[in-house]
Symmetry: T
Subunit: 70 residues, 12 copies
Amino acid sequence: MNEHVYKKVEVVGSSPVSIEDAIQNAVEKAGKSLRHLRWFEVTETRGHIEDGKVSHYQVTIKIGFTLDDQ
Amino acid sequence: MNEHVYKKVEVVGSSPVSIEDAIQNAVEKAGKSLRHLRWFEVTETRGHIEDGKVSHYQVTIKIGFTLDDQ
Amino acid sequence: MNEHVYKKVEVVGSSPVSIEDAIQNAVEKAGKSLRHLRWFEVTETRGHIEDGKVSHYQVTIKIGFTLDDQ
Amino acid sequence: MNEHVYKKVEVVGSSPVSIEDAIQNAVEKAGKSLRHLRWFEVTETRGHIEDGKVSHYQVTIKIGFTLDDQ
Amino acid sequence: MNEHVYKKVEVVGSSPVSIEDAIQNAVEKAGKSLRHLRWFEVTETRGHIEDGKVSHYQVTIKIGFTLDDQ
Amino acid sequence: MNEHVYKKVEVVGSSPVSIEDAIQNAVEKAGKSLRHLRWFEVTETRGHIEDGKVSHYQVTIKIGFTLDDQ
Amino acid sequence: MNEHVYKKVEVVGSSPVSIEDAIQNAVEKAGKSLRHLRWFEVTETRGHIEDGKVSHYQVTIKIGFTLDDQ
Amino acid sequence: MNEHVYKKVEVVGSSPVSIEDAIQNAVEKAGKSLRHLRWFEVTETRGHIEDGKVSHYQVTIKIGFTLDDQ
Amino acid sequence: MNEHVYKKVEVVGSSPVSIEDAIQNAVEKAGKSLRHLRWFEVTETRGHIEDGKVSHYQVTIKIGFTLDDQ
Amino acid sequence: MNEHVYKKVEVVGSSPVSIEDAIQNAVEKAGKSLRHLRWFEVTETRGHIEDGKVSHYQVTIKIGFTLDDQ
Amino acid sequence: MNEHVYKKVEVVGSSPVSIEDAIQNAVEKAGKSLRHLRWFEVTETRGHIEDGKVSHYQVTIKIGFTLDDQ
Amino acid sequence: MNEHVYKKVEVVGSSPVSIEDAIQNAVEKAGKSLRHLRWFEVTETRGHIEDGKVSHYQVTIKIGFTLDDQ
């Protein structure tokens, strides 16, 4: 049970609303092609500015998922 | 007055709601055993995924507190 | 068109509300003296604690803006 | 011959025995879906603790493999 | 439009000519199996030496590409 | 259940035998004064040399343990 | 003579040709508003991809210049 | 003898005089509650400015001390 | 009061005397063109050697100053 | 006695057996041309893969040795 | 064959022409006193500016060479 | 003149007096076997503690020296 193997993929999510929403968008999109998603790690937080305001957040995360029994 | 000495402890807070809420949970829990908390520094932001959605955020912070007069 | 030159400045924004609000405050203040702001990168997230609670978030960002045609 | 292109994937292996065994488990699992594995780089070493003892090691590695002629 | 999700893959390109040529080789090879490539970030520059001269450059890049509409 | 708070302490274990043994020594010693140890992260691996041979390994780890219900 | 004070500014140059050309573009643009430029340090190398090829390099540099006697 | 276990704590010392004095203040304060202090590692050097002059240095150090036989 | 915005500039000070003196020189020079200086962070310490001795220290600091009410 | 000066050299050892054996090989080889070796610090752990298995570990270490009285 | 031991030395090459030329200059100079050079790793890229133009590139590389049978 | 090649060596100096004195000790010792020393870069500052006080500072520096015409 402790000998699981995981793979990590790096995904960038965007959102005009919040950092959390950008993370959630990245996780959901990744979930469409990968199964058994288990955790994420934020590696970069940035965003775009338009007209002197933050137009959207752009968060890079690594997503870990189980490789066993796929 | 400028010669205060501070100690830093590293704490991990969790929350299903937001990164800020995870930080606040960590600060409150640390405040139960430590006094004179002064600042925090985020060192890692990660989280768990369940059913293709973020189930909770997990934020590691260092908390600085005054060592004087303890 | 691809040969733009950008400059980055480092700004620290604060907010008692959220990390996003601290970023927005930093962007707005920078926009008062700089034009053509294009993007930001978060380099540090920290904050102050008062009475055992987070009193405000303090987020350091680098802001990139176009140097062309100034 | 010198113009090979390689891809790197990030994989986490586990083992109750040793760090080397966790690396070997990660490499073997990756080898089931990827060919031409060439090298690995350790990026993180951690593990779980149960009953006051290390229950298993968890080692994150990047695995490089040849993209040519696939 | 701002809610794109991107994925990053890590690729190593080689060239006996220049760093730029090694990057270009990596991008072209990646473009054979991935579409909508958008940007790259250099993460490591190294190379091999033969007979006291640089025989080829080896540049590791992360390539970002759009995950939308795949 | 997801709102646990953890604390991390940094401990250095030594062993003449192996890196794994040094980690295990650190975990066991920490377990004498702390309960609910959950995971460790290796942050530094070094060691001493005597008579041209490795005399012992010295591994720095961060140990995470549950703060709840203490 | 050894007690000069320097300031560093962070600038991003672009070029479709090469990394060196992107650096040179950044230096020249900075030289239009700053005098006494002395050295640069590359902090990031990235670029854009169009139609499966590198369309331009984007190099971030810190430029040091003398603050004395301005 | 080689199987000592050490713990590291992170402490911030201040001094209006010098970096060395700030380190010494941190070590002395830590020594009031911890025994067997063995070494320190500087992790951050900063300070406050008042009236255009450095008012005090603030140095963060990790202090290692022996856990054996406590 | 908690919603101050700060800007950071990066400055290099030199001194044949000490690291502290190099920092002080950088702060004083910066204070000639900037007001409301609040803190500094050391990011690099280096120096020149002449005739087998340190001829002067060269310390890079980031200086934070208040942007409000300028 | 406290004013020793040390030099560090960077050496890469290999072994098909284990990380510890690769370190020991590096230390022994360095000991053939250098005396008074005192400590090592692991800076990189990687290895080669052949036929889907780890063929050998390759560990980069810095070795510190006393410069006094040579 | 897999148990080679390598040493790394850190060398800084300069060139008014290009980054690649600076690397090549460093490799050639190192090859005058060291044999069996095998690879290099770029650790820093910087340069000097004169009259508002890059006067030369200065690239720091680590060069790995075989220690066996010397 | 701009095509000098430099080599860097890593040396650790100690002093019971100050960080500057530890640096100076390292430079002087290195100067006994190397000529044309040009600059140093501090990479680590640490020290030993005895009887609750700093007994000596231990500073790791990289020393750059000219390889030309040796």
